[in-house]
């Protein structure tokens, strides 16, 4: 299931980059200071990522619990969406069928 979560994260990341690319490029070319400010926010998260595993280790959170957490996020971010898509497809089918 962690693979599923990773796939979802990659899809979400790429989607965000594609959708925001024009705005990103505009900011990058014309407002470099603003771009730097935004990057600094992302850098903060990167910094958090750098120490996150250390903090997790310091808290003694076992790998099993981590797997459960990642499975949890992977599940709630993918399965309900899939079910919802299936449901709405069935609704459309019933609506369109005579």
């Amino acid at each position: 299931m962690n693979v599923l979560a990773t796939i979802f994260i990659n899809i979400a990341t790429t989607t965000a980059q594609v959708l925001l690319a024009p705005i990103n490029s505009y900011i990058f070319n014309n407002f470099p200071s603003l771009n730097d400010a935004l990057i600094s926010i992302a850098s903060l998260f990167n910094l958090i990522s750098t120490y996150l595993n250390y903090i997790v280790d310091a808290l003694g959170i076992p790998q099993v619990a981590l797997d459960v957490i990642i499975f949890y996020y992977g599940f709630i971010l993918t399965v309900p969406l899939s079910i919802y898509v299936i449901k709405i497809s069935i609704k459309w089918y019933h609506y369109l069928m005579p």
Binding site: A12, A21, I23, N24, N30, L52, V56, D57, A58, P80
Partner: protein, 474 residues
């Protein structure tokens, strides 16, 4: 709950930091051996990775790399590949010492008086070694590696400005090598200090070495000027461009002047004495720093004096004074409200100036590059900060799964302090039973909460009208 966890983490890290620092200063490792392992004995020293040793020629860099000639001047020789505009690639030059006869000033190499462009490739043929000449022993030392990868920063018409990364050896090391002209076999092993030219430092410290060469025994009157930069004693911490251009104030224009984006310049002319202006361009973050030397160059003396040093405006436009307003605002004290208000107005003013500049350049292009062109030239998916902010939490979750704990190294009063991973070095060593129980309980609570929520979601999915979609609160 979260606040409590954060407090505990801060307390744990603080205690470990203090203990490690005290241990590094007073050697109290006997109290808690775990700290002795990490920070004892005066503190572990940080190990800086040495840059990779220079290699003679990197033929793997870029598909268009062709290392096909060896060039020599007196005791110097250049080994280089052809390079193309605009796609530059890795370039190196080294010194080939034993192949040339210094007493006569000539190198027993095939002479190719045909510098110039061949197609879209620029060859710097000074003295060329025939590809069939594979005999002899070459002594080769590479002391500068120039990397053109992703180096194009500015394109204005046919003028390309580059960022060049220099890597220089701390000394020259020679390697005897029997060449086969498959130059990838050349290697130089020596201590390498990664150095980059700092154009903001005092450029008068740049020592230009002038060597004049006249091909006396040849039918032509060609002369060659070699300009080398001694980049010692310069604080090198960034990547800059250097370019050389040669002008002739006396009106006697040479032929085949070669402005090279390297640290030497070559030209040919018909007389033996000239006064030259050599202009050296350094580019830093889009600004061109121009430095000129006037050089009296003759058969007897070579003297140059530093003539000018000024900063050109942005390479392409004459903007209104909006350059780096946001970056150059003075630092106000916290209580200086007036200063903050002034800063706010300055930022608003700069904002409007930038917007007006944008539309002006969009409508009235200056040169061959417009803002609109730049927009598309520099269009990349990952060059903006906005998407990185939105995707940052997801990346954090991804890191949680992909990475494992690694010790954290802090520097406190110039003393490196290493905070070890606690589970393997502390909890499991000193409190194994308690730690196992703690992990068991923690796993139980986490699992209970997660699966309880998942169960609620599944139960909700049974309802045909349930259309709630979970999302990450970004």
């Amino acid at each position: 709950m979260i606040k409590s966890i954060i407090k505990k983490v801060i307390i744990i890290v603080s205690v470990m930091t203090i203990m490690s620092f005290l241990n590094s200063k007073f050697d109290i490792g006997f109290i808690l051996p775990v700290f002795a392992e990490s920070g004892g004995g005066g503190g572990a020293s940080l190990v800086q990775e040495k840059p990779e040793p220079l290699i003679g020629v990197d033929t793997t860099s870029g598909s268009s790399t062709t290392i096909n000639e060896m060039h020599g001047l007196y005791s110097n020789a250049f080994i280089e590949g052809s390079y193309e505009y605009p796609e530059f690639f890795m370039f190196q030059y080294g010194i080939l010492s034993s192949q040339c006869n210094e007493s006569s000033g000539l190198c027993p190499l095939a002479y190719t008086p045909s510098p110039g462009y061949h197609g879209n490739q620029l060859y710097n043929n000074i003295f060329s070694l025939n590809s069939s000449d594979t005999s002899g022993v070459y002594t080769y030392a590479s002391n500068i590696k120039v990397d053109f990868d992703d180096s194009i920063k500015i394109k204005n018409g046919n003028h390309y400005s580059l960022l060049i990364e220099f890597t220089r050896t701390s000394g020259i090391t020679f390697l005897t090598h029997t060449p086969s002209l498959s130059l990838s076999t050349l290697n130089v092993s020596s201590d390498v200090s990664s150095t980059l030219i700092d154009a903001t430092s005092n450029l008068s410290n740049v020592n230009i070495v002038w060597n004049r060469f006249t091909s006396d025994d040849r039918s032509t009157n060609w002369a060659y000027l070699l300009v080398e930069f001694d980049i010692d004693n310069i604080d090198l911490n960034n990547i800059y461009l250097q370019e050389l251009y040669l002008t002739f104030p006396d009106g006697d224009n040479p032929t085949n002047v070669q402005p090279l984006p390297l640290n030497y310049l070559m030209f040919a002319n018909g007389s033996s004495s000239h006064e030259y202006d050599v202009d050296v361009y350094f580019i830093e973050n889009g600004d061109i720093q121009f430095n000129g030397w006037n050089c009296d160059f003759s058969t007897s003396t070579n003297s140059c004096y530093f003539s000018d040093n000024y900063l050109l405006p942005d390479y392409d436009y004459t903007y209104s004074s909006d350059i780096a307003v946001f970056d150059n605002l003075p630092v106000c004290s916290d209580t200086d409200i007036i200063c903050h208000i002034k800063q706010a107005f300055e930022m608003i003013k700069a904002f409007f100036v930038r917007v007006s500049n944008y539309f002006r350049d969009l409508l009235a292009p200056n040169g061959n590059v417009t803002i609109a062109q730049q927009y598309f030239d520099t269009f990349h998916l990952d060059d903006g900060g906005l998407s990185s902010v939105i995707t940052a939490p997801l990346n954090v979750i991804e890191h949680l799964d992909a990475d494992s704990c690694s010790p954290i190294t802090l520097s406190l009063l110039n003393t490196p302090i290493v905070l070890p991973c606690m589970s393997s070095t502390f909890y499991e060593v000193y409190f194994p039973q308690v730690f196992n129980i703690y992990q068991l309980v923690l796993t139980g609570f986490v699992t209970y909460y997660c699966f309880l929520h998942i169960f609620r979601i599944i139960r909700g999915l049974q309802s045909p009208d349930y259309d709630k979609v979970e999302e990450v609160d970004l």
